[in-house]
Symmetry: C2
Subunit: 407 residues, 2 copies
């Protein structure tokens, strides 16, 4: 496997574009298009929130129907959630406008939306935006990056990655882009992420590769504990790599799943580290656990703890909060056997051994905790299974953004 | 039932005292004593966190043993959590020092601790504090208030209440005090709360009255989602009201349970409204639900949502975040049937009807949301059961306190 430049346009036959449609923002792009020259096999995972945005309902219908997908249209101004029948109607309008502009079937258009909840879309601006997107689309890496920028809301940087992997003598490319920032606590999947590949792969294999990996990547991140109404991860496979079809469970499937995992984990960590107001990516690893479930409960509970996140913001080795968060995670363990370490680029330090503090240097700990990516490693000494979860620190910036911004 | 002045010393035969022992703070009291002239029937509920503080383990042993209790010693400097065998030993030392100073049995001494996790108690200061407490104790209401102040950490005000109720021709008094502020997300019970009563009541009835009511009061509050290692609610009944013994399930039991509920709900709401950095008490009511479980899931999910709490801080009627929080609560409902209202002393306003926004005045909504106590009422139109939960807004103050304060 090899990391290469680019994102959603890295794989053969995929084009992208960004446009400023003025849906909410002015002076920046707020619509993106992903287009494939040929129809794609598609897989998706979506929010488990009972309150589902209209585009989530639309995409679920398209994916469940099993038809081919050829385009994704995204806007980052209005979430189109809690908008009733009228909002769902705008999904149909969007798909039809895109179908007309791109000369494809409306049934093959997926829709992504993110932004303020409860407002109706200005359909005229949206339609005008789609016409711009159709004209500007091309397969350059630059256009992929522009699309990744256009889907941002309170994100501070675009998030994209691409890799190649040899499958059956052919070079298969997988690339993706995502956005996150706030209302990030995915449950079965995350905020918007779009992945493209030129692999030839069965629909079943594509969906299983995505569903299984989402559990270890997007579902292991949290910014604020709020599971969004719009969480969507979609993978499009257009088959232009010309490899023999990848079937679930084969050796070639494993290779593809690993490539997909690299993309998903990278995008998930980028979303966590760029959470609203974040100054650091905060990773929690639970190691030497008895089961995957236990390890995931422990790691996720640590990165979700407001108190722990505030301590990370203050570069404070407040390990009591971490042990406390492990204690209410729902996982069973012996607190008096836990070892805890902090790690960052600045080094590694042990803070507790068998549940009580060792004689560590607070100065050294603060230095390590001042990194832009900080890891807490909790060893429960019960087995050999590990899991990681990702979040960010809780800062004044989060309050600034969310006490004043109608997002 | 009648509200009266006072707290833990309101009931007959209870004395209290506060002392400055210098355990963590200087220039303020940090130890409190509750003492009963005669031994008490005792009931308690404690944190479900796997990581339990030493005093929680101590109190659980005392309560489970069924013996009589005559004193409670509390310190608010050090939590005595994650302190291993040594920490548990300090509980024994504390009980023995109190037993000696008060001339009672060490087996009848309960212990409460709150403060920093992981530090060992300075046992000499603790013992000196106990001697001061034993000398200063008396049954004045002022001493009750002083005790309520001494157990505070980042709390901004003391929390106490007392009521009287006529039971079998006798006046029974129930009074209590509590502290909260941060690491507040009780699961089976809350931070420190101590309730005293002169009722004659069976041990079974006392424990059931407490356990059943805790589920609707302390367990329905949250400040930051972090379930503490030290949560403790204890009720002491010394029998000096001389009523006929209250037995579980009787009419007299109902009267006692109602009086206890008034104390518990008051203290729970005070803890929520005085959460770290809070500028407002935030109440969520889920009404017309199908079941109590559904109503509680919905109400609790709303008050726990960081995004909603930040919106309350900004006086922003950001109803999308509330509907989103209801959607990921785990409760089933039809989002397109939900009505939502905001209430405060400044008035009441409807924001959404059947899942979408009505044409409300943002100015009026902001006025209502600027109150020091704000209520969101969500009507799901599925039945006739309601539940309430209490939290607070999420402000810069919370970040100030927790990014810099080793609590």
């Amino acid at each position: 496997m090899k990391k290469i430049k680019g994102g959603v346009t890295a794989a053969k036959g995929f084009e992208a574009a960004a446009a400023a449609a003025g849906i909410k923002y002015t002076g920046r792009t707020d619509m993106a298009l992903i287009y494939s020259k040929v129809p794609c096999t598609a897989a998706g995972t979506f929010t488990t929130n009972v309150v589902k945005a209209a585009p989530v309902k639309w995409d679920q219908q398209v994916i469940a129907g099993g038809g081919k997908v050829q385009a994704v249209v995204v806007n980052s101004g209005i979430a189109n959630a809690c908008t009733g029948e009228e909002g769902f109607g705008y999904c149909r309008d969007t798909a039809e406008a895109a179908a007309k502009a791109l000369e494809i079937s409306a049934a093959g258009v997926l829709i992504g939306s993110t932004g303020v909840i409860g407002k109706q879309l200005p359909v005229d601006k949206l339609t005008a935006g789609i016409i711009k997107l159709a004209k500007k689309k091309n397969d350059s890496l630059e256009n992929g990056t522009e699309a990744a920028k256009a889907i941002m809301t309170t994100d501070t940087c675009e998030k994209e990655l691409a890799v190649t992997v040899e499958i059956g003598g052919k070079t298969v490319t997988v690339g993706g882009m995502a956005k996150g920032s706030g209302m990030i606590h995915p449950n079965m999947c995350t905020m918007l992420a779009f992945i493209t590949t030129d692999a030839v792969i069965s629909r079943e294999a594509l969906q299983r590769a995505l569903s299984e990996d989402v559990a270890d990547t997007y579902n292991m991140i949290s910014v604020d504990g709020d599971t969004s109404t719009n969480d969507t991860v979609v993978v499009l496979a257009n088959g232009l790599a010309d490899n023999a079809e990848i079937i679930y469970g084969s050796g070639e499937y494993q290779k593809f799943a690993e490539a997909l995992h690299v993309i998903n984990e990278y995008l998930a960590k980028k979303i966590a580290g760029d959470g609203e107001g974040a100054t650091a990516l905060f990773e929690a690893k639970a190691v030497n656990c008895k089961s995957k479930e236990q390890a995931k409960l422990l790691a996720k509970s640590i990165v979700c703890s407001n108190l722990t996140k505030a301590a990370i913001a203050g570069h404070d080795a407040n390990w009591g909060r971490i042990l406390c968060a492990m204690g209410y995670s729902g996982a069973q363990f012996d607190p008096e056997k836990v070892d805890l370490f902090f790690e960052s680029k600045a080094g590694r330090i042990q803070i507790i051994e068998n549940g009580t503090a060792v004689d560590y240097s607070e100065k050294e700990a603060t230095k390590i905790l001042s990194g832009s990516a900080v890891t807490a490693v909790a060893d429960v000494k019960m087995g050999d299974v590990s899991a990681a979860a990702w979040g960010c620190d809780l800062t004044h910036g989060y309050i600034d953004i969310n006490a004043d911004y109608r997002s």
